[in-house]
Amino acid sequence: MGMLAFRVSLALPARLANLKDQFYINFIADDRYMYLVRGLWMTLRITFFAVLLGIALGVVAAIIRSTYDKNVDDMRPGIGKAILKILNAIVKLYLTIIRGTPVVVQLMITYYVIFQSSTNTMLVAVLAFGINSGAYVAEIIRSGIMSIDNGQFEAGRSLGFNYIQTMWYIIIPQALKNVLPALANEFIVLVKETSVSGYVGIMDLTRGGDVIRSRTFVAFMPLLAVAGIYLIIVIIFSKLVSVMERRLRNSER
């Protein structure tokens, strides 16, 4: 008992000194912290543009799917109905493939197969993650559109708005508000999913930490730092969303 206590008390300052050394080696020496800074910047840029692409794709796909579900039975045969059927089939195929395969495989296919000679790897990642996210966003927004009372739709049409205008001015704003928590969750997932970017040689946050590990042969600190940074991003983002939600709710009271 006494021996053990003695050893711990001796070991503690030694360990602290060790931690200090580790910190120095991993982050300060050769400005290694810059791997994390540059990686974080890359992760944020990929996520930001992928989110934009995902929302754009998701809204379009959701409008096509819900238009089909709501109207196809009442439509007269003709070119409009044929186009809607084709668009709906394309969107369904898109959702099935994207949701049925792993994102890292999609990323590698985008990089190695579709853009074989591309040097702009960030663009490849934005496309891959944006297209992936769009499939999930589409189903979230579709559920939002379907949750809006049909009377809203009829009111818009009765004023003279066409289908797309009614969607844009009346249905989509209400649908987005209803699905905001689900959308926020999707983007939290997306931030973390970009951590597989290293598979195609992108220096994102995760890869940055990994590079430090390969230089210093110490895994503990760089990887914990990486995990901590993701955690902070997600916490900040969640906070922003809950503030936004509260403000949207208050605007109607």
Binding site: D149, E154, A155, S158, L159, G160, F161, N162, K177
Partner: protein, 254 residues
């Protein structure tokens, strides 16, 4: 465009309107051959038991329901023709719904000015000036910045009426405008409708308010099982009903 229309000119002409659809193998005839004209300045009141097709008829007039047979001509244009731009025509046919259908994400002012600004290209100032004037007419000018959820049912329906008026329609369609209201709020909505009728607005009203039909209606249509069973002036319909079904209906509701 409506200036050249004289009073009593036919605004909407309905010929042999029918809507049939299949529901679990049984063929349903929601409308079964309706023919009538709506004239400028007229207040047409449509009454009948539930399921008689009166709402379907009214909603066909601006194609919220698509009829399966027959034609509807609005200001000389066949709106049932596939090449007709129904969106353009709907701007001239306002509609008021049973459940108000105000846009909950917009203020009262934005509810009223959205369509004039986007569809008629009115400037924000002009659209808001017009909206304020209309709000004053229904006594709600101080609620312009409120959201629909902050209003009572009666207030919502008054807003819904002036929202339709912001588009300066030639005809207003009312689909059971007081049916979703608490009894004490029915009067305020009917008062707005009465005042509107006095200005010469052409109105088609589906309602259960027989008092309103008698007092304001210029013509009453009684529908049952998808057809017009009897039509005439309020006096003819309420004081001297000829058809048995109408007599039975009036005995129940009066």
């Amino acid at each position: 465009m409506s200036a050249d229309l004289e009073k009593n000119d036919v605004i909407i002409s309905v010929k042999n309107l029918a809507k049939h659809y299949k529901n679990k193998k049984t063929e349903i005839h929601a409308l079964d051959g309706i023919t009538t004209d709506i004239r400028r300045g007229e207040v047409l009141v449509i009454i009948g038991p539930s399921g008689s097709g009166k709402s379907t008829f009214l909603r066909s007039l601006n194609l919220l329901e698509r009829p399966t047979e027959g034609t509807i001509t609005f200001e000389g244009v066949d709106i049932t023709a596939p090449e007709t731009d129904i969106n353009k025509l709907r701007q001239k046919m306002g509609m008021v719904f049973q459940h108000f259908n105000l846009f909950p994400h917009l203020t009262i002012m934005d509810n009223m000015t959205l369509a004039p600004r986007k569809l008629l290209n009115m400037s924000r100032e002009d659209a808001e000036a017009k909206a304020l004037e209309l709000l004053a007419r229904v006594g709600l000018q101080d609620r312009a910045d409120a959201y629909p959820s902050q209003l009572s049912g009666g207030q919502k329906q008054r807003i819904a009426i002036v929202r339709a008026l912001c588009m300066s329609p030639d005809v207003l369609l009312f689909d059971e405008p007081t049916s979703a209201l608490d009894p004490e709020m029915v009067g305020e909505v009917l008062d707005v409708m009465k005042a509107l009728a006095k200005t010469g607005m052409t109105m088609a009203v589906v309602t259960h308010e027989m008092g309103f039909a008698k007092e304001v209606g210029t013509r009453v249509i009684f529908m049952d099982e998808g057809v017009i069973v009897e039509e005439g002036t309020p006096n003819e319909i309420f004081d001297n009903p000829k058809n048995e079904r109408l007599q039975a209906f009036l005995a129940k509701v009066l």
